[in-house]
Amino acid sequence: MSRVLVTHADQPLGLRIVKRLFHDPAIESLLAVGEGRAPRSFARFLAGEPPRFDYVRADLARHRAASDLFHSGRVRESGIDTVVHVPRHGAAPEPERPVVSGLPVRTAESRLVLQHCLEVPSIRHLVALGSACVYKLASGNAACVREESELDLEPSISAERRAWIDADMLFHAEVGSDRLRVVLLRLPSVVGDGGEVYLNALLEGPPRPHLRPLGFDPLLSLISDKDVARGVQHAIHVQDAEGVFNLAAEETLPLSRLASWTGRSSIPVPGWAVRALQGLGVLGDAAPRRFGITLDTTRARRELGFQPGYHIALARGGDGRPRLEATPL
């Protein structure tokens, strides 16, 4: 039986994971942490008898708040042994502006969560969600990457991707630690309810057109948020699993098709124009890419026993508009 703490539980991906774990009989208690008020859907979890779910508010990017949480009586008394760190969705706010010790928000959160997991004696297991955008994009429309593939350490990458890579490396550095069992799950673009896409800077937030270099159409892996939650569940319960794992569904889509399926327009522009706009800083973190990657999930299948349970396809919603939808296999 595990006692689990889930960070960013008030964001869509965290919400999905909390729901999944709440219904898992092998989870003894669940402590959800979010920055905002408890989502309304948590009301019935909070009212459950006997109480096995609690929600607390904390800004994990702030040292004091994180310290207060992990050393609080709640965490101590509930004997939390597993932490699921859900990344902040969307671009880190104001990535150029230092938040804690000069680190962007996502990196700061990752560092503080990891540090406190190592400090609190009862915590023995950390499951962190990362992004597949950390991989170096090889030349070509698609490359199927494994966990050992090269990370993109070019100095020219965007602050958003740098934050993901920094967080990834922080967690990766603790893999093999005697004190803490770390599982890092690298995720592609996540398709949530209503066809929303998370963990993809180009497709998050309100629909807006984006530019892509003419003649290129990177291929992207996808995964349903429900499969992410299932993957987390596997990572918690497979006792000897440790290290980095790619998680993805079978489905892939070119960026132009994915954009159109999420109600956005993908405008091809000549490469020189893209470079000029990038030079002017107009494109920000949503910098267009020429090449894409897809994820080889062999390791997750072999060691975590993970099999995608949902496939992603175009569907027509109740309002008659087409949208991405995850349906059970």
């Binding site: 030349s139 070509g140 698609a142 003649g215 070119p254 062999t298 072999r302 175009l314 569907a315 109740g318």
Partner: protein
């Protein structure tokens, strides 16, 4: 990419009953296709109906053959759909056998219509008439030894490479697709440089070709696919006419991956590509300056401009040799033995060279 049930989505082309609640699966992008039955399958049905009709000579005299030289004006109440004349030509070119083979491609991809390496069967269906015309009309390909190509499971076909533009790869892929049963789509490994070119890289990926990274090759072999590799790489494609039918140095990566995946290597000789664009000189300083892999001088290029790059209408002959089952003698750990891998690579090279020498004019 997967070890698991990759083909759980076999029913991609099947009609899906709308669920009682929730969304209705469309299976196609409504921005590019209208919802409804697969247009390709609809065309296939039309072909099958056409074959049941009497030949034109037996049809009633009152029906006049259309004037192929001019587009006929269409009556408003003409029941034939728009573009029917055009697709009929394509269908005749392809034939029922090819259409049936094309219909099997859908099992290779997921619900979205793509696989993990970018293959898009719809794009293959669109491009095949062009390549089939090259195969039958321009290069007049003849082939033998298809019985050596595994009908299922992974394998690596190692072939000689030549001809400036990789028509040898395209013709081999078409030949395998037409002459294997069940039809197999060869996944050719292309150079990183070509994969990174605008439009070209996307086109190659949609046709099922992959950039030659170890991850790609290992993933495709794990996925039980048929790989087509040209171990000479760029050195083969830019070799001068004086070197034709002389195989260049072979890269060793394909042998390593074949050993790791425990799959056979099928030596393949392609005769004809060595003559399709005879390179007189390769101006290497110019190539370096322009950041190109080669700056060739041929009897027609650059004198005729881009037209000079068109291959000569040489006839192709493709021969598949007996598979080399190194994996039956050596385990996957042999892939880490550099000397053994070099030796086995030389074995493959010698075998391909022998096939070429036997078949060349």
């Amino acid at each position: 990419m997967s070890e698991g049930p990759r083909f759980v989505l076999d029913a991609v082309g099947d009609p899906v009953e709308p669920p009682a609640h929730g969304p209705t699966l469309l299976g196609h992008d409504p921005f590019s296709h209208p919802p409804g039955p697969d247009p390709f399958l609809a065309r296939l049905d039309e072909v099958l109906r056409d074959t049941a009709r009497p030949p034109p000579s037996e049809q009633p005299e009152t029906r006049q053959a259309p004037d192929r030289r001019r587009r006929q004006p269409r009556a408003l109440d003409d029941p034939e759909p728009a573009g029917h004349e055009r697709t009929r030509g394509v269908r005749r070119l392809l034939g029922e056998n090819v259409l049936r083979r094309l219909a099997t491609l859908d099992r290779l991809v997921s619900e979205t219509g793509y696989d993990a390496w970018g293959l898009e069967p719809e794009a293959v269906k669109s491009a095949l008439p062009f390549f089939l015309a090259l195969y039958r009309g321009w290069f007049r390909v003849k082939s033998e030894g298809h019985e050596h190509v595994p009908t299922e499971g992974a394998a690596v076909l190692a072939a000689n490479h030549a001809g400036l533009l990789p028509f040898d790869g395209a013709m081999t892929a078409v030949d395998l697709f037409l002459h294997t049963d069940p039809p197999r789509l060869a996944r050719a490994v292309v150079d990183r440089w070509a994969g990174g070119l605008p439009f070209v890289g996307v086109f190659l990926a949609r046709m099922g070709q992959v950039v030659g990274t170890r991850e790609n090759v290992a993933g495709l072999l794990r996925d039980q696919q048929l790989m087509l590799v040209f171990p000479e790489g760029m050195e083969g494609i830019r070799k001068p006419v004086t070197q034709r039918y002389r195989l260049q140095h072979f890269h060793v990566g394909f042998v390593e991956e074949a050993l790791r995946a425990a799959v056979p290597i099928v030596p393949t000789a392609i005769i004809g590509s060595e003559n399709q664009a005879p390179i007189l000189f390769d101006v290497k300083p110019l190539a370096r300056l322009l950041r190109l892999p080669t700056a060739p001088i041929t009897p027609t290029f650059p004198w005729l401009g881009p037209l000079g790059l068109l291959p000569y209408p040489v006839s192709y002959r493709i021969v598949y040799g007996e598979p080399l089952a190194f994996h039956e003698r050596f385990g996957p750990e042999a892939a880490d033995d550099a000397r053994l891998v070099r030796y086995l690579t030389q074995q493959v090279r010698r075998t391909v060279q022998r096939l070429v020498d036997r078949e060349r004019p």
